[in-house]
């Protein structure tokens, strides 16, 4: 019996495509953000609010993933930005090849910020690099405040935690301080914004974070956070 060393990543093909995408995004000056949460946390609502609030000078684009239906893309198209639905047909996450394929006929030079709304799932999307500048994890107060401990991988890999539906806090047994402590336990460097996409509360902070990321990208240092 002969043992051959393989020493390579299982997802090496995905990582290679993601590295190409990241290079493209950098060349075109596109801030690419990968938004991940459970189904129903409010990813599409956050994007609706964001597209509505973006300055006229900014061109956003959205790739939105779901197992089936064009519903999310239909909700987002009314803001006049390019939007494409990626229906995975059963797959529980987006991968770099799907992103590459769906970007093919867009004019990348016209896009400033690309939002990728991943398939609703806190587990699988965390393993697939899509070439994004940052992952953003969203958690809503109608879920459990221990979610960061139950699904640590995505909280560990995200730069920002968006805590959504804070207008419902008086009606649900969600301890927001405990949720934030749990997130910091998994990832001490994670930034947190509390928002309500229904009332608009906290959205200014989210837009400030977004603006800061764009400035950092333009300054030629996508990793810079301040």
């Amino acid at each position: 019996m002969n043992r051959l060393p393989l020493e390579k990543k299982v997802l090496s093909e995905n990582d290679r495509l993601a590295a190409n995408l990241r290079e493209h995004f950098r060349d075109y000056g596109i801030l690419c953000l990968n938004l991940i949460s459970s189904p129903g946390s409010g990813k599409t609502s956050l994007l609706e609010r964001t597209l509505e609030a973006l300055p006229q000078s900014e061109c956003a684009a959205v790739l939105t993933g779901d197992i089936q239906t064009e519903n999310d893309a239909n909700r987002l198209r009314r803001f006049g930005f390019p939007v494409k639905q990626i229906t995975t047909g059963g797959t529980c996450h987006l991968d770099a090849r799907m992103i590459e394929r769906h970007l093919a006929d867009w004019k990348l030079e016209e896009i400033d910020v690309l939002f990728i709304e991943n398939v609703g799932n806190l587990v699988c999307p965390s393993s697939y690099d899509l070439g994004e500048a940052a992952k953003i994890v969203m958690l809503s107060v109608t879920e459990g405040d221990d979610k960061p401990l139950k699904y640590p991988s995505i909280f560990f890999k995200s730069e920002l935690l968006v805590l959504n539906k804070v207008d419902l806090l008086p009606y649900v047994p969600f301890n927001i301080v405990s949720a934030e402590e749990n997130a910091h336990r998994i990832n001490p460097g994670i930034e947190i914004v509390r928002v309500s996409c229904t009332t608009g509360n906290g959205l200014a902070e989210w837009m400030t974070w977004l603006d800061r990321k764009q400035r950092a990208l333009r300054a030629g240092s996508p990793q810079m956070v301040s």
Binding site: N2, L6, C92, N121, V123, S127
Partner: protein
Amino acid sequence: MHEMGIASLIIEAVKKEMAGRPLDRAEKVGIRIGALTALDQSALQFCFEVVTRDTELERLKLEVDCVPRRHRCPNCPNEFEVKDYDFDCPRCGSFAPECISGDELELAFLEVEEHEPTTA
């Protein structure tokens, strides 16, 4: 939850490796999975059996090496395994958030039974 996809990627990698060895038979493939990947080992074994069943790789075994999450202390050179999200260095008590392993999803080795070409 995405163990089926991962099992298929492992098989693809084995097939690629074996393409240049038409006479040999792959017996076992070894992978390393880190605690942060959230992959379930028994689900992965099950998916692996399903994707190899009734194929030329039916006899192929999967060996999984689980890699724990390890952190490095910024104050003393200690490296330690993180349990229950306690990031304090067990040696000096400093807060040590730097993760050095646990995110692996790697192919480690392939064991093949080699067959010499028969001379006709």
